[in-house]
């Protein structure tokens, strides 16, 4: 007893006793989830980060040696294929996001103006999103097949020329083919977000513009567009994140080939880490790809904050 009283001491007795309040309850309830998320996501991420600094190779799994930044240096300074895949991925994201935006904006404008059949139109428009990306890949692989594909058959029916166009093989047709598949699959997402933005706009500025004699284009350029910019940037941020990890469709249609002609970062990661058994290099490349995603996300979300519409917009 004596020991206990000495250990507690007068200063500890003065401390405020912890009180469990309603404020603490959410923390307690969230704690197990946080622990599980840390273990399921945090631990594997940290482990793969560690792997990226080793020479771990699946053909020799007993040997794991720490080699510092060697994998990153190899990728950034010696692997020309990596830079090509990186550049192609940036181009892929840029083109896909912008084309989807233009198409999405146009379709969303039309959808917002539909007086009848809106529900049916929305359902039809959302159909591409209902397909698994792998199915979309197979579908477009068949569309662009040189011998049995739909596109060449249509061209043959229209023009009568029997020259087989190897869409998935030739440069830049292979790249364009996977771009088309990706755009077809994901434009509906843009439409949903942008239509929601358009429908949420106040009507007063448009009525005022109408009274002032503004044309349709002026109303779109000077009112609609500035006011839905936060929606546009949010949609672009989400899509660029999606595209930065594009894999399924590309993998099925071309596998990144032939001769690396359609290789994107994630098909290259797959080829290196799983087919080539270079797990550590694959992990390093994955982290570089994550940085790419972060750059695009930061860029777009930064613009979301800047573009929030306020009452100060000049009409």
């Amino acid at each position: 007893m004596t020991t206990q009283s000495v250990a507690v001491g007068p200063s500890r007795r003065k401390r405020k006793r912890f009180q469990f309040t309603d404020r603490h309850l959410p923390l307690l309830l969230l704690f197990p989830s946080v622990v599980i998320i840390v273990l399921v996501i945090g631990f594997p991420m940290l482990y793969s980060l560690y792997i990226s600094f080793t020479n771990f190779n699946l053909t020799n799994p007993k040997v794991i040696e720490f080699i510092g930044f060697q994998n990153y240096i190899t990728l950034l300074t010696r692997d020309s294929q990596f830079w090509k895949a990186f550049g192609r991925t940036v181009l892929f994201i840029t083109l896909a996001v912008n084309i989807e935006l233009i198409l999405g904006l146009g379709i969303a404008q039309m959808m917002a103006r539909l007086a009848r059949g809106k529900g049916l139109a929305r359902t039809l428009m959302m159909m591409p999103m209902m397909f698994a990306p792998i199915l979309v890949g197979f579908q477009f692989k068949w569309f662009f097949d040189a011998q049995l594909g739909l596109v060449n058959n249509i061209l043959y029916s229209i023009t009568g020329q029997s020259q087989l166009i190897p869409w998935l093989i030739k440069v830049p047709l292979g790249f364009i083919s996977i771009l088309v598949a990706e755009i077809w699959m994901s434009t509906p997402f843009m439409v949903i977000i942008l239509e929601a933005g358009i429908l949420s706009l106040p009507t007063e500025p448009f009525e005022a513009a109408e009274v002032d004699g503004a044309s349709g284009w002026q109303k779109f350029r000077l009112l609609t567009l500035p006011m839905i910019m936060p929606f546009i940037y949010t949609a672009m941020a989400i899509r660029s994140l999606d595209l930065a990890r594009a894999f399924d469709v590309v993998s099925i249609m071309t596998g990144g080939g032939p001769a690396n002609r359609t290789e994107l970062i994630w098909t290259y990661v797959n080829r290196l880490a799983f087919n080539g058994k270079e797990f550590a290099l694959g992990a390093a490349m994955s982290f570089i790809a994550v940085i790419l995603s972060l750059v695009f996300t930061y860029m777009f979300f930064n613009n979301v904050l800047k573009s929030r519409w306020t009452e100060e917009v000049e009409l």
Binding site: R17, F18, Q19, F20, T21, D22, H24, L28, F31, P32, V35, I36, L39, V40, F43, N55, N57, L58, T59, N60, P61, K62, D145, A146, Q147, L164, I165, P166, L168, I169, T254, G255, G257, P258, A259, N260, R271, L272, F274, N275, G276, K277, E278
Partner: protein, 449 residues
């Protein structure tokens, strides 16, 4: 304030740490299982005549196509031994390989018998995942197996895989497109393919599976026939030789001449088979395994209109046939290796081979070959006997596996995109092969060769 409860910080921390600790323990239990321990085998009183009575054998197996038929023999083995077989995994060859590689790397093997393949087993040996089979199979047990096939499962002087069945490349050629006969050499093959293309609008002279390991393997067999080698005796690349240049130049010249389908570099096994059964190809090198599909008029436009032949020779004066076999291995982690060996003996028995032979699969026992060739004499299929005689001849003389190294797939992963570049005209043959050789050499040195 009335909603507040007075709980000491110590009590609060106790609750939190207990919850967290339980979550950590649960997650750790599933994330990092104990390495390579086969599950405890339930014990049961031994019964005379049933050597493994009450025991359970766990098996990691290939599935799909005709592979599952053999497993119909398992109940008989269970009856005979008193043991039970539990399938812990079933998937296609590549899925099974991927899972095995990961299990051996992570030390999570909890099965006794694993499907294996001559092209892949070296990875598992290097990962220290397999048990040598020599102690479990006597010379007498092995005497009936075709030596070339058996040897394809050996490495470092030890037997690691018991062969179940095999396949080997064989020249398939149409008899209705003006070909005088099968090509004797790869030069004849090239000339014949160009002629077929010219004389038969809508038909391509030939084709190859054009990506991944499939393309590397096809290049490999032509390279060998032309007198080249993939790797030299010290396991360094040797494919950028004149023979290698000649081999890949043939692919490239045929492609640029329009004698191969324009999508060919996107083709895998099913794609080339589909081209063939649709009557779009004059001749090509293919596995025997597709035969019944090709000869079925319901699925094939070329049924009854093709013949088969030994692979062409090249400047090396050999008929090389890219070959491989499926088989079974015992895992090092197995606690019941005798029982595992017993099941493998049962599945690779004469009875097992007979069952697979009926499905048209090329089996590994000479005695069963002799038997089915004799039976084929009365078959109405014009190629039945020839096909079997040719296959067994090739198994005896032309059987060439890829180098038995763990790095076969990584090597292929480096080589095939460059072969594609050459075929598509993105790079010159010598320059492409030199670039591939440099990368392969670096990879092999990194792997300790």
């Amino acid at each position: 304030m009335s909603a507040q409860k007075r709980v000491s910080r110590r009590d609060f921390l106790k609750v939190v740490s207990l919850t967290g600790g339980a979550a950590v323990l649960t997650a750790c239990a599933t994330a990092t299982p104990e390495p390579t321990e086969a599950p405890a085998v339930p014990t049961a009183p031994a019964v005379v005549g049933k050597p493994f009575d009450g025991k359970t054998l766990r098996m990691h197996a290939i599935s799909g196509a005709n592979y599952d038929e053999l497993y119909k023999l398992i109940p008989a083995w269970e009856e005979e031994t008193g043991a039970k077989v539990e399938m812990v995994f079933k998937g296609n060859g590549f899925e099974t390989d991927k899972r095995l590689v990961q299990d051996f790397a992570a030390g999570t093997v909890d099965y006794d018998v694993a499907w294996d393949h001559s092209s892949f087993f070296s990875q598992y040996v290097k990962a220290d995942g397999l048990e040598p089979l020599d102690a479990y199979f006597s010379t007498e047990d092995l005497a009936d197996f075709i030596p070339g096939i058996l040897n394809a499962g050996k490495r470092d002087g030890k037997l690691w895989v018991m062969p179940r069945h095999f396949d080997i490349s064989c020249m398939h050629y149409r008899t209705d497109v003006g070909l005088a006969g099968p090509p004797e050499t790869w030069d004849d093959f090239k000339a014949g393919a160009l002629k077929v293309t010219q004389d038969n609008p809508g038909v391509f002279g030939t084709q190859f599976a054009g990506k991944e390991e499939a393309l590397t393997g096809r290049f490999y067999e032509v390279l060998l026939a032309e007198g080249g080698q993939l790797l030299d005796d010290s396991f360094m690349p040797a494919f950028n030789s004149p023979a290698g240049v000649k081999a890949i130049s043939m692919f490239s010249e045929l492609y640029s001449a329009g004698a191969m389908p324009p999508d060919m570099t996107n083709f895998l096994w099913e794609d080339v088979a589909n081209q063939w059964v649709n009557g779009l190809i004059g001749m090509y090198t293919e596995w025997y395994g597709w035969y019944s599909y090709f000869q079925d008029p319901a699925s094939s436009k070329v049924a009854g209109k093709f013949d088969i032949a030994r692979q062409p020779m090249g400047d090396g004066n050999i008929h090389s046939g890219w070959a491989g076999h499926h088989g079974f291995s015992i895992t090092k982690a197995s606690k019941e290796k005798e029982m595992a060996a017993s099941l493998i003996k049962h599945l690779t028995s004469v009875e097992g081979n007979q069952l697979e032979a009926k499905l048209g699969i090329l089996i590994s026992r000479q005695s069963v070959w002799d038997q089915i060739i004799k039976e084929a004499e009365t078959s109405t299929d014009p190629l039945a006997k020839k096909r079997l005689e040719l296959a067994v001849l090739q198994a005896q003389e032309d059987f060439r596996t890829p180098p038995l190294i763990a790095e076969w797939l990584p090597l292929s992963n480096i080589l095939y995109p460059i072969l594609q570049q050459v075929i598509l005209g993105d790079t010159e043959p010598q320059a492409g092969l030199d670039e591939a050789a440099t990368k392969v050499e670096e990879m092999m040195k990194g792997a300790g060769y």
